[in-house]
């Protein structure tokens, strides 16, 4: 594999590690299987791209994209908490609705960002190739996000959120308003996923309404891979594992795609991801979010 392909894999792995962190928050911390992400990823891309094209500052555009993602998460949480709609179904409803909304936001199926100023533009002039600037920029961003998320999850508020997912009855008895925690967690989770979408649009130079398909599975694969490689309970390591899992997953995929003997092509990605997640589910001894949910459901 060429250095170029490796950097590309790391870059996309870093973008999707934001998805992995979001999925970790919903599936793992809140115990809320949330498929909204398939809609909030392209939502982040659509909002950021559309605003940037219309001349808005790319940083502001990225922030607004995150707010839009948070709003999507709040809708799913509202459907579940207020109307008792099954979490999975509530998130599918939001996801489907977002498909139309994303088309409305962009006004067409895709928006190109090629000549536009993005959050990365100022760093392109520093003497490094674009293919090098992108992973470095994303790497720094991810370090910041992981550190902030870590401080959050080990705070009193974050601990209350973890208790809400782990034992809602106990959480309520300790005075934790569990529905408020679900709203906060779902907003935060989808804001991260929308940030991933906004970064995807700005590093790849386009936003596409179909780019969200399979986001949830890719995020889950990264979370599972990270958890399998790092069996730690220390929150900082658990979060870093999501990022490393996402990068390794992309590098492994790039290797597979670059091995002609396997006969794979880029469009096989979703199938390969799905098979990997299924294997993770079926293989004994692998700790993963879905398995925990299935067990939880049987109680």
């Amino acid at each position: 594999m060429s250095t170029f392909a490796l950097l590309g894999a790391i870059e996309i792995g870093l973008v999707f590690s934001l998805v992995a962190l979001g999925v970790f928050l919903s599936f793992r911390v809140l115990n809320f299987p949330d498929l909204t992400v398939d809609g909030s990823f392209p939502l982040g891309a659509a909002v950021a791209a559309t605003l940037i094209v219309s001349g808005v500052n790319p940083w502001l555009a990225t922030l607004i994209a995150m707010a839009a993602g948070a709003a999507a998460g709040l809708v799913t949480a509202f459907l579940n908490v207020r109307f008792n709609i099954l979490h999975l179904l509530a998130s599918i409803l939001t996801m489907i609705a977002l498909y139309s909304i994303n088309l409305r936001i962009m006004g067409r199926p895709n928006v190109a960002l090629l000549q536009q100023e993005t959050v990365l533009t100022p760093f392109y002039g520093l003497g490094l190739a674009q293919a090098e600037v992108k992973p470095i920029f994303l790497g720094v961003l991810l370090i910041l996000v992981v550190l902030i998320l870590w401080r959050f999850l080990v705070s009193d508020f974050g601990l209350a959120m973890r208790a809400t997912g782990a034992n809602p009855r106990m959480a309520r008895a300790q005075g934790i308003a569990t529905s408020g925690q679900i709203y906060s967690g779902m907003a935060l989770s989808n804001a991260l996923v929308a940030l991933a979408g906004a970064m995807f649009a700005q590093t790849n130079g386009f936003a596409d309404v179909t780019s969200g398909v399979g986001t949830i599975v890719v995020g889950l694969a990264a979370v599972i891979l990270g958890e399998t490689l790092f069996r730690s309970r220390a929150m900082l390591i658990v979060l870093a594992a999501c990022v490393i899992g996402s990068i390794l997953y992309r590098v492994a995929l790039a290797l597979a795609l670059n091995t002609p003997a396997l006969g794979l092509q880029a469009s096989d990605l979703q199938l390969v991801t799905a098979i990997l997640v299924i294997l993770a589910l079926v293989l004994p001894g692998v700790r993963n979010p879905i398995k925990a949910l299935i067990r939880g459901g049987k109680q």
């Binding site: 080990v154 705070s155 009193d156 300790q174």
Partner: protein
């Protein structure tokens, strides 16, 4: 002072499944009193407890804690006043979180939960000291997962967790029923110790007539959602299990048969 007046709780009202769990209970618990509540299955013991925590919706009546009417307050809002130990050791703690994280959750019961670190050096020190009181060697296992503890250890820690924040009443929901007898008596003694040393007001629901007489200052017997027997002071200290059984049979108008009440 905890005061329940004219409490009625009906589940599934107006349906064929209608259950009148509580049918008019008036109960006042002065500050510092330790009340043992006994009754057979379906007598309304757990519902009475849930009325106090805010988990059971009132059909009628008022719950007043220290002159504050909390009748309409949901459970999380009451948590600053009400501490609870569940029957199931799994229910009162988060097994996936560490001992110290569980304790930090309990220490903030009823308080604001901000973005400050949940586990500070000071808090850890306090937790270690408090755990040492149990004499179970848990003070060296602060970072262990709660799930690694035995049922008895978890119940002892749950009880300890309840005392980490202020409360107006401690509710014990058959908190030793799931434990083997030796551990159960350890947890009961611990309960007595905490209630005495922190001057707690407590309400303990139990299945065991022995416990209902041996622990606390007052014994209340529930039957079919009503208080049928309420004794304290000298009258109570003269009572023994056979008296209680007799009283219970009289109330039911039949002899005690296959009921789940434990005589021992």
């Amino acid at each position: 002072m905890i005061s329940l007046s004219d409490i009625h709780v009906t589940f599934n009202a107006g349906t064929p499944l209608e259950t009148k769990a509580i049918r008019g209970i008036d109960l006042s618990i002065p500050a510092g009193q330790f009340v043992a509540v006994i009754g057979s299955n379906g007598a309304g013991k757990s519902t009475l407890l849930n009325v106090l925590t805010g988990d059971a919706p009132l059909t009628r009546g008022r719950v007043v804690i220290d002159e504050t009417d909390v009748s309409t307050w949901p459970a999380p809002r009451r948590a600053g006043m009400v501490a609870r130990v569940f029957q199931d050791p799994m229910a009162g703690t988060c097994e996936g979180l560490s001992i110290e994280e569980n304790m930090a959750l309990a220490a903030a019961r009823g308080g604001r939960r901000g973005l400050g670190a949940a586990l500070t050096h000071d808090r850890r020190g306090t937790f270690r000291e408090r755990l040492a009181e149990l004499g179970l060697g848990l003070e060296d296992r602060l970072g262990d997962r709660m799930g690694q503890l035995s049922g008895g250890q978890r119940q002892a820690v749950s009880l300890l967790m309840a005392t980490l924040a202020d409360m107006r009443i401690l509710l014990l929901d058959e908190h030793t029923a799931a434990l083997d007898p030796r551990i159960a008596s350890f947890v009961l003694e611990l309960t007595r110790r905490f209630v005495e040393s922190f001057h707690l007001t407590a309400l303990m629901v139990t299945h065991s007539m022995r416990q209902a007489l041996d622990y606390g200052d007052r014994t209340v017997m529930l039957h079919e959602g009503k208080i049928v027997f309420d004794v304290s002071g000298d009258e109570r200290s003269k009572l023994d299990v056979p008296h209680l059984v007799e009283l219970f049979s009289k109330v039911r108008g039949e002899t005690l048969d296959d009921d789940a009440l434990l005589l021992g």
